[in-house]
Structures are given as structure tokens and as C-alpha cells.
């Protein structure tokens, strides 16, 4: 696993990183999206969905109220908000268990800390945090090969740091 961090100054850049990640995700990927209210979880998921090829005309809407929404692009995407869940059985009632285990779908789960037991060991962890105004810190824990591909895909607009790099001015 590699850790990448960066700062974004707009929802567009957050979305662009999600998009770049979505474009390279393999079937069966699990993306755990952590961050406080308004940190940009749904924004990141919107980019992820477009990167997976979900058509532009289809809104990627907050799943908070309905708990989970499902989209079809290059791969099936199940977007889950675990915030309101209090029991694992409820996820099974939603039919999400099938997406978790079919090895073909991509799962993006907001508030994964509510259900750590569901997060696989090889999950891609995305942590978003407020850093003043429109600035967000984004931290990714991701498989080394995917990290490489992601850095290459976003080289034009995102400056990534990995912990091995010594921060200069920041």
C-alpha cells in the first residue's frame, strides 16, 4: 500500500481526482470514503462515477436518505452511505452483500468507520478533510500500481506527495 496526499482548491479538482481513480479501478474495488460533513465525499464519488463511465446525464445524488444508490458505467457502482445504518443486517436487506462479494462491482462507501468489518483489507481508503475555505486535504491509501497510474493520470493538475518525500513549502 502507498499513501498519497495532496490539497485541492476546488470541488472540480476533487471531482477530477475521483474521475481519474474511477477510470483505472479494477472490478471488485472497494473505495472507503471518510471525511466530515461537507468535506467532499459525495463530490469525490461523483467524479469516481464519471470515471467509471456513468453517463453525464445521470445525476450522482447523495445516498444519505435512501442509504444506497446504484449506477452502471464500465462497471456497476454501488454508492453507499453508512451514516444512518445501525445494523449490518440492514446492508444485507438493501442487497448490498451481493455487490460486496461478486468481484465485479465497485463499492464506494461513505462513513466506512461505522462498518469497519465490511471494509476489505485491500480497500482503497480516501480521507478528505477541511483545510480552510475551499481547500481540502485528500489522503489516499492505495495499492502501489494503482497509485502509480493515478499519479500519471493526474500529473497535469495535482501535485501528490507520498510520505517518503520531504515536504518543502506547504
Amino acid at each position: 500500500m502507498t499513501t498519497l496526499t495532496t490539497r485541492t482548491d476546488s470541488p472540480e479538482t476533487t471531482r477530477a481526482i475521483g474521475h481519474a481513480l474511477g477510470a483505472i479501478l479494477p472490478p471488485g474495488a472497494f473505495v472507503a470514503l471518510s471525511g466530515a460533513l461537507g468535506a467532499g465525499k459525495t463530490c469525490f464519488a461523483q467524479g469516481l462515477a464519471r470515471g467509471l463511465g456513468v453517463p453525464e446525464g445521470e445525476p450522482i445524488v447523495s445516498p444519505t436518505f435512501v442509504l444506497a444508490r446504484e449506477y452502471y458505467g464500465r462497471l456497476r457502482l454501488v454508492h453507499i452511505d453508512a451514516y444512518r445504518l445501525c445494523d449490518l443486517d440492514e446492508l444485507y436487506m438493501l442487497g448490498v452483500d451481493e455487490a460486496l462479494n461478486d468481484g465485479a462491482s465497485v463499492v464506494a462507501m461513505e462513513w466506512p468507520d461505522r462498518f469497519e468489518a465490511l471494509v476489505p483489507a485491500n480497500a482503497i481508503r480516501v480521507t478528505l478533510s477541511h483545510d480552510g475555505n475551499d481547500i481540502r486535504k485528500i489522503r489516499l491509501q492505495i495499492d502501489a500500481a494503482l497509485a502509480d497510474a493515478l499519479c500519471r493520470a493526474t500529473v497535469d493538475r495535482v501535485h501528490w506527495r507520498s510520505p517518503s518525500e520531504t515536504p518543502t513549502t506547504d
Partner: protein, 345 residues
Amino acid sequence: MPMTRILAIETSCDETSAAVVVDGRAVLSNVVSSQMDLHAKYGGVVPEIAARAHIEKIGLIVEQALQEAAVTYSDIDAIAVTDGPGLIGSLLIGVTAAKTLALTLDKPLVPVDHIEAHATSAALVCDDDPWPAVSLVVSGGHTSIYHVADYDHIELMGQTYDDAAGETFDKVAAILDLGFPGGPAVDRVAKAGNPKAIRFPRTWLNEPHFNFSYSGLKTAVLYHVYGQGKKYGSAAHLSEQEIADVAASFQDALIEPLVIKTARAAAERGVTTICVGGGVAANSALRAALQSACDERGLRLLLTPMKYCTDNAAMIGLLGHQRFLAGVRADLTLEPRGGLVRTGR
């Protein structure tokens, strides 16, 4: 023509409801069992609680709806039921109850879309059908504008692209520590506030489309309350008056796009009637703003009465009646269209 009596069942979210509606108009009974007290403890609709409570209540609620309507099962012509969208666990209980009744009573089973029922719910209080009209549906899970040409032609003109209006109320109420449900709490506190105190963003206000985005508004409120770099981390440092001003200004920013876009949708489709349904239609500031916009433009505003704004079976009975007349039927393989909304397949 003989009367048609529809027994309607609605369990899409946290309300268990059953109604008896005659000819799609006369509501003989509309029993709604609110589970709000249970959910308040958890700061949201907890589906597990919703599903369990539905199971315990559905039989009693149906019995009570029949009793209040002074009818028996044999007087019923068809069973109408919400089959989606909603929480799958909750929907399943209503659908299963409806299928059981349809089978044992040998009555037709009629599936009804929850959102289309909200879009047409204002007709419950009209002598004649109000269509064509533009209908605004604002609730916890939906913020949509429909063009209703008639019951069989309901077209989605625009919708939210991130958070729904009701969800935004809940999230802002959480930021302001006002509790759940957020809508009534913010509405109450905002009455003492100045809606022009803070200029919060109005996303896509002047865009030509009819879509909404409320995620930026929620974040703007968060920054205003918590301070730059989340200095305060809560609303505890604000005075009562400051909280009232934030609530009123937030409400103003949320409402303006709803009003402007709904009025513009009516102008574009050349309709003279605007209907409003869904839980957020209970908001007093939204009602007042829509009324004055309609007065200025010479439009008729049909506000769905409060009892039909939140989830209820009467609106399912209204639309179920129309679907029944149009020959819409489901068999016992009917399954709810739940939380996993299958779109664009």
C-alpha cells in the same frame, strides 16, 4: 357509475400508513403512524427501526383505516401500494401486506410510484383535476420539478444533483445543534432571524435548467458556523439571535432557487397552476415565498395540506385510483423498487 373504493398502503420510509379513498377524491380514512419519536434518538431515519415498526403496525393500521372509513374488506375494489422508491426493508412490508390482502380477498393489486403520488397529491383537495400543472416535490430524499400534463403523463423537468432540500435541512439542523427532524426545527428558529443577515450561495439560480444543487450551501453554512479552519467546531459560540439569523438566511438561500425555478418551469410550459408536495412543503417560509411569487405572476398555487405533505396513503389512494381505471395491475411477483435505485440501465 358505481363508487370505486381503494385501500391504499404506504410504507416507503418511516411512516406506516393506510387509507380508504373513494373515486380518487373522498378520503374516508388516512391513518398515519408516525415513528418520529424513535428516530429522534438516533438523529435520522434508522431503517432497522423503520422496518421493525412497520411489521408491528401494518395490520393494526389497515384495520383502523377500514374502521374509520366504516367499510369492510368486501367493500374494497382494489389494493394500491407504494412499490418504490424508498427504503427496501420498509417498502417490502407494505408490498407484502398488499399482496397478501390481494390474494386472500381476490382483489386487484395496483402498484403506485411514491414520488408521482407526491407530485399529484394536491388534487386531493381539488373538486376538478388541476392538470396541466407544474409540481414541485420537496422532501428528505427528493427535490424535483414535474410537468403533470395528466395522470398518465408526468414528466421530470429537473431535480437535485447532490443533496435533497429536506436532507439539507437535516444537515444544517445538525450543524446548528437543533435536533431531528431538521425542517421543523430550522423553520421554528428562523422565524426570529433575519433572512438577509448572511448571503449564502444560491447554486444554479440563473442557469436555464431546472436542476438544483444544495451541497455547496450546506458547506457554506458549516464554514460560517464553525469558522475558518473549523476554529469553533460547533455552534456553541453563537448567540440565540445569531443562530436564528443563520437559520433564516440558510432557509432564504435554499428557498430562492425552488421558487424561481418552479415559476420559470410554469412559464416555459405555459401552465397557470403550481402544485407543491413533499415534506418540505410544510415549511412556512417556502409557502409564503411561493404564494407571493404566484400572486405576482397571476398563477394559481395549490399547496398540498400538511396532512398530505408528509408520507401518507391517501395520495397513494388518489393515484392508485387513476392507475386502477387505466388498467394498471401487478401480480403476486410484485417486488419493491428500493434504496438501490436502478438508474440508466
